[in-house]
Symmetry: C2
DNA sequence: CTGAAAGCGCTTACAG
DNA sequence: CTGAAAGCGCTTACAG
């Protein structure tokens, strides 16, 4: 494996008896090459198994790396994985390759600042042509803004406070409001809320939609029914168990993302409780849980495709004002 | 965005009043640089926001790209996504960045040969330091073998016929045999089989384990209970419905991967049938389906970690004979 | 400890 | 249509 240096254009040129310039022209499929010369060179390329060194090509100013970076928190979340899939499809179609970077989370469930800095540095050193970023909530250190000054960036799922740029969002507020409305329509008045960070981003919007629906229905939001800052399905399960143990428990529980929904489903199932779950994000096999679930879903693959398309435009040199695309959210109800 | 060329070492050198060589030494944290000089240069680096161009560094022979490629079929499958996560963690820890490439499937559910060739070319042109590949079953065209000659490769989940190399496998045969044994122990004698490709790779091994368990128990494998070549949960659902509609239907169904299991669960659920499902791979919320499911699971993240560790060793120059690592499979039973 | 110079593998005007 | 030459941004012996 890896034995010997790979052949260079110089090797091909010698083998074919032409100059390096000519080899370059053939490899780049330029016009104005004599057909016979072209054939000879192509034969030498094949004979030597020549593959143009992309690092060398890239060195010339104005040449692209044909690489985009996708920065997500954790590929373990189906949202991230499907997003990546959508990105990859569009990227491949447009001639780009995807560099995948995960920020991870620290013990408190927050972004690791140091790791994020490393990632931004890495992208810039590699001169990626563009970046797709699922960002953290804040940009106090100006990390995202600095990145956006040096490379085309499209943000996904949230635009960090204090940053200008393209962003692809979900209809978090609307989806959440309609999902809550559905629960209200089914007669529920005590609705629990199990969610992650409430500060900003998707979590904040989803909670806002929840409140809006309650308000419109003249239902008070009860503090004792709210459980924020859950970061895993295990935590969500415990939080839901707490809710079920209340003297006056909720008859429905709103979950603000898929991990929350999974945890709540388990808690409700174990308790054998007669509680309806309304969850944001898709959860596979929800159909099997008839009579108990309503979901607000969207297509993460499509989010990836749209974001990648926006980025491809930007990399093409578009100087239009920052754009905001919103991917729709649809409700799915299983059972009543 | 992207305004102006990024600063070069030359810019830094001029700003600091030293030579480019000295800047290089400081940036590479070499010894034998006067502390005062180092400080000046570091100040200039910071002032100009200099980030070393990795393409240029890479050009020198012997320099690595610090890039590994991960080639999967489809990130939409949780196995691939978690695998990628494990890979990314080890890669980042070892100073590598991950290039993600998906082969996709064509209409018949097979690998797209053309796309695979493109991918191999892409990796080689980019001079990645190593490749992690979830390969197709065959290597008739010698694609994988050719790749393995030019770069360190670790295969995942299967070693294509006719290729030598490192591989990280699951205990497909053993896990499958034990899962089938469990169904037999519960008294099932008519066990349906819903699976994907039977020809080779994981599918073939899982079927082999199934047969081995039946044989050991003196149970005949009935042709009418076998449903191969299912490629989606929808197809698996239909196949399972077929099984349930037989004059003499199975009392248990063995599913050879997670898509099959999801489809079978839906079919059994819809039919309200009293059928136990034994499935290979994890399926979230299986716990909610108590009394109906046994799963053979393993940790795809761990598969990724192990494969990446093997690759890091190879990239370090290890010339040891090809290695084979097997990740264990554990049974989980829900309900009886 | 530091600098001048060569060279990595390409691309691209510039001549011819 | 083709080649010689310069140059992209680095690293690395080689002197000093």
């Amino acid at each position: 494996m890896g034995q010997g240096r790979p052949p260079t254009m110089r090797d091909v040129a010698e083998h074919a008896g032409v100059s390096v310039s000519t080899v370059s022209r053939v490899v780049n499929a330029e016009k104005y090459v004599d057909p016979a010369t072209r054939a000879t060179v192509e034969a030498s390329v094949a004979a030597l198994g020549f593959l143009r060194n992309e690092s060398a090509r890239t060195l010339r100013p104005g040449q692209r790396t044909a690489t985009i970076a996708l920065v997500v928190e954790d590929l373990t979340n189906p949202f991230s994985a499907e997003l990546a899939h959508g990105v990859e499809i569009v990227a491949a179609g447009a001639g780009y390759v995807v560099l995948l970077l995960s920020t991870g989370r620290d013990a408190r469930g927050d972004r690791d600042r140091v790791r994020e800095d490393e990632i931004v540095g890495e992208l810039l050193r590699r001169r990626v042509d563009g970046v797709l970023m699922v960002p953290g909530a804040e940009d106090r250190e100006g990390r995202y803004a600095a990145l956006a000054e040096r490379a085309p960036v499209v943000f996904v799922d949230r635009l960090p406070r204090g940053v200008r740029g393209d962003v692809v969002l979900l209809d978090n507020t609307g989806g959440s409001r309609r999902l809550t409305q559905l629960l209200l329509d089914r007669g529920h008045r005590r609705i629990g809320y199990v969610g992650g960070d409430r500060g900003s981003g998707p979590g904040a919007r989803r909670h806002a939609g929840f409140r809006a629906a309650l308000r419109a229905a003249g239902v008070r939001e009860e503090r004792e029914l709210l459980r924020f800052n859950q970061h895993s399905s295990d935590e969500a399960r415990t939080a839901t168990e707490d809710l079920l143990a209340l003297a006056h428990p909720p008859t429905a529980v709103f979950c603000d993302n898929n991990r929350m929904t999974v945890g709540a489903l388990l808690a409700v199932h174990r308790a054998g409780a007669d509680v309806v779950i309304g969850g944001f994000d898709a959860v596979e096999l929800a159909e099997v849980l008839v009579d108990r679930v309503a979901l607000a879903t969207y297509d993460p693959v499509d989010v990836g495709r749209q974001a990648a398309r926006l980025l491809v435009e930007r990399m093409g040199g578009s100087q239009a004002a920052p754009r905001r695309t919103t991917v729709p959210v649809v409700l799915a109800e299983f059972g009543t």
